[in-house]
């Protein structure tokens, strides 16, 4: 434990004593966004969690923009605090660097180790990239574990079904099919958990692997599919990201696919042997989104899909089974709209996952070659739900997930088959 925690952090934690709620905030050059997050945490500490022993632990990966100073100095200026209950306990705010290679995995390990050391009953991890963090969302993530009702609390955002297609079309259905856990946001960077869950994660040997660095968020979600763990989803309202530059979709898709498939590989011992699903309790259904549906450049995506299948067909031949490759080629025919049905999409995603597992071709090339296929599916889904309301479109997403679940046997067979 002491090797995970830096001396500076250890000395800060020694002064805290036992805790009820530990909020962990991993940062790296987040000076532009961390202030409101810290203030939201403090409002939650002084209002809804006023009777609990709480601490905010900021683990920083070596920011050069003064992020730790902002965390230490962030004052509670929110006018809501004027009517907040008087704090009944000492509020702790610790900001310290962590050991190891900078990255979220090392930061989370440090937060879990701190929670374990302080015997925290509930742990909340926040994402400084999310600008919509409110005191209510901090409480929503902490409360179920604090009451002993959950081991893992995953967020649910109010989003249009066309928003976040990388999650809705790939991550959510494949995660659900593999782990048997119907999480809406398995890729979310913020979550709540019990101290027991944190300790269980700490015991895993995967922390010492490089693979975990890129798959940490999904790996944590996958850990919640463990036996006898209670999983709850908490509705956090709309999600807004901070306005910093983000990678283009052509970089983002390979990153997320690599993380998803790596996470499946790291936890293959648990999910391939499981025969039935795992219940998720939803604390409250999110309301319908008020924002208009995001615009999808269907024509542009369709062109990229057609060109991609035409140019990369030979490269993808060892990846896909002949019917799947034929189906994709037929969907890319130039004389008709792109249409990738659920069955074809489920087969394509599962075969991509298995090819990544067996390194049928270079993993880097594989996830990059998947970009045009993903864009084609987004174009196909957007055309399919055009004119439908959010509720009907959400039902289509549920149908997709169910289709993936029905093909689970295929996924396991492909995954566990000897490398071709």
């Amino acid at each position: 434990m002491s090797t995970i925690l830096s001396d500076e952090l250890l000395s800060g934690l020694m002064a805290v004593g036992q805790l009820d709620v530990l909020v962990g905030l991993p940062t790296l050059n987040h000076s532009d966004s961390v202030g409101p997050v810290v203030r939201a945490v403090h409002v939650a500490f002084n209002r809804e969690l006023a009777r609990e022993r709480t601490a905010l632990v900021n683990v920083d990966g070596g920011s050069t923009d003064g992020t730790p100073d902002i965390v230490r100095d962030a004052s509670i200026v929110d006018r809501e605090t004027l009517v907040a209950s008087q704090s009944l306990r000492t509020r702790h705010r610790i900001s310290a660097p962590y050991h190891g290679v900078p990255g979220k995995a090392a930061a989370l390990r440090t937060i879990f180790a701190a929670a374990d050391l302080l015997q925290a009953r509930a742990v909340v991890v926040l994402d400084p990239e999310i600008a919509s963090v409110t005191p209510e969302s901090v409480v929503a993530l902490a409360r179920p574990a604090l009451r002993g009702e959950a081991d893992f609390v995953s967020p649910v955002y109010t989003r249009h079904p066309l928003d976040g297609p990388l999650v809705t079309q790939v991550v959510r259905p494949l995660f659900r099919a593999a782990y048997g856990l119907a999480l809406q946001e398995p890729l979310a960077g913020e979550f709540g958990c019990s101290g027991l869950f944190a300790a269980r994660c700490l015991d895993e040997p995967a922390w010492d692997t490089d693979d975990l660095r890129l798959a940490i968020d999904l790996w944590i979600s996958g850990m919640s599919a463990g036996d006898a763990l209670r999983v709850v989803e908490a509705a956090l309202g709309p999600r807004r990201l901070t306005s910093r530059p983000r990678p283009a979709v052509t970089s983002l898709v390979p990153q997320v696919l690599d993380a998803l498939f790596t996470s499946l590989r790291l936890q293959e011992g648990t999910w391939t042997g499981r025969s039935r699903g795992h219940a998720v309790r939803r604390a409250a259904s999110p309301p319908d989104p008020l924002d208009p549906p995001p615009t999808v450049d269907s024509a542009g995506y369709a062109t990229l899909f057609r060109d991609g299948v035409s140019a990369l067909g030979a490269m993808l031949a060892p990846v896909f089974r002949p019917p799947t490759l034929e189906g994709l080629r037929a969907a890319a025919a130039p004389d008709r709209p792109v249409e990738i049905p659920d069955a074809l999409w489920a087969a394509a995603v599962q075969e991509l996952a298995a090819a990544h597992r067996h390194a049928t071709i270079s993993r880097d090339h594989l996830v990059r070659a998947a970009v045009p296929l993903y864009l084609g599916r987004v174009a196909s889904f957007a055309a399919e739900v055009a004119g439908l309301g959010p509720r009907e479109a959400a039902e289509r997403l549920e149908a997709l997930c169910l289709h993936f679940e029905r093909c689970r046997g295929d996924l396991v067979a492909l995954w566990t088959a000897p490398a071709r």
């Binding site: 976040g164 297609p165 983000r246 979709v249 052509t250 970089s251 542009g300 990059r368 864009l375």
Partner: protein
């Protein structure tokens, strides 16, 4: 007369017998060397195949695209091909040593020439094989990058890069073997120079405005993938 014939016959036959006495041991020596060489080469082939299978060379070949190349050329898988190469190099070495044992001056000269040429040919084959694998990997990288960037002629660009790298590898291999070195260098220079000159004239002078209009039209008509992918998460 009869005596002369008998002497001639005796001398002739004794010459043949002496020759056979000289050749048969050498022939047996050659056969034993070749047989031993065949056994050693076969053993080396088996060991090589096992070792390459243990090292998962087949998977490496798939990942680098070498397996795809071999399939296209209707050649056996990489580990079998490498094992066969080991077998034939060893067997040819023993065969030449065996021929040397016969003691014929012509065969000895041939062996010496082959002894110089074979390592060069082997080196050339290795250069060509490495060049093909590198060209295949670079082709994949370029093709993926151009497809994902929405370039209109991704296959053409990828193919051109592949052709250029294979041409360079082939020129290097031929240069290493030392076959018609001056012709190879001149042909390579002429080929590359001609292609570059043709492209320069076509794009720069002859059809500059036309090419610009064509590219503008194609690129403007195509949308590029989102530069900010946050809406996909």
């Amino acid at each position: 007369m009869a005596e002369a014939i008998l002497v001639t016959l005796r001398e002739t036959w004794s010459g043949y017998v002496n020759g056979l006495r000289l050749v048969i041991p050498r022939l047996l020596a050659m056969l034993s060397v070749v047989a031993a060489g065949w056994l050693i080469a076969a053993l080396a082939r088996a060991i090589t195949r096992k070792a390459l299978a243990w090292l998962r060379v087949a998977r490496l070949a798939e990942r680098t695209g070498a397996a795809e190349l071999l399939r296209k050329a209707e050649l056996p898988p990489a580990e079998r091909l490498a094992a066969s190469a080991v077998f034939w190099v060893l067997f040819l070495g023993f065969l030449l040593a065996g021929l040397d044992a016969l003691g014929f001056a012509t065969l000895t000269a041939l062996r010496l020439e082959l002894g110089i040429l074979l390592p060069r040919v082997a080196g050339g084959v290795v250069i060509l094989a490495v060049g093909l694998v590198v060209a295949n990997v670079v082709w994949r990288v370029v093709l993926l990058a151009t497809v994902n960037a929405g370039w209109p002629s991704a296959r053409l660009v990828g193919g051109a890069v592949y052709f250029l790298l294979v041409t360079i590898a082939a020129a290097m291999a031929l240069d290493h073997v030392g076959l018609a070195r001056s012709i190879v260098v001149a042909a390579f220079a002429i080929l590359v120079g001609a292609v570059m000159l043709a492209v320069a004239i076509a794009v720069g002078i002859g059809a500059g405005p036309l090419v610009r209009r064509l590219l503008d039209g194609q690129l403007a008509a195509r949308s590029r993938p989102d530069t900010d992918g946050s809406s996909h998460l």
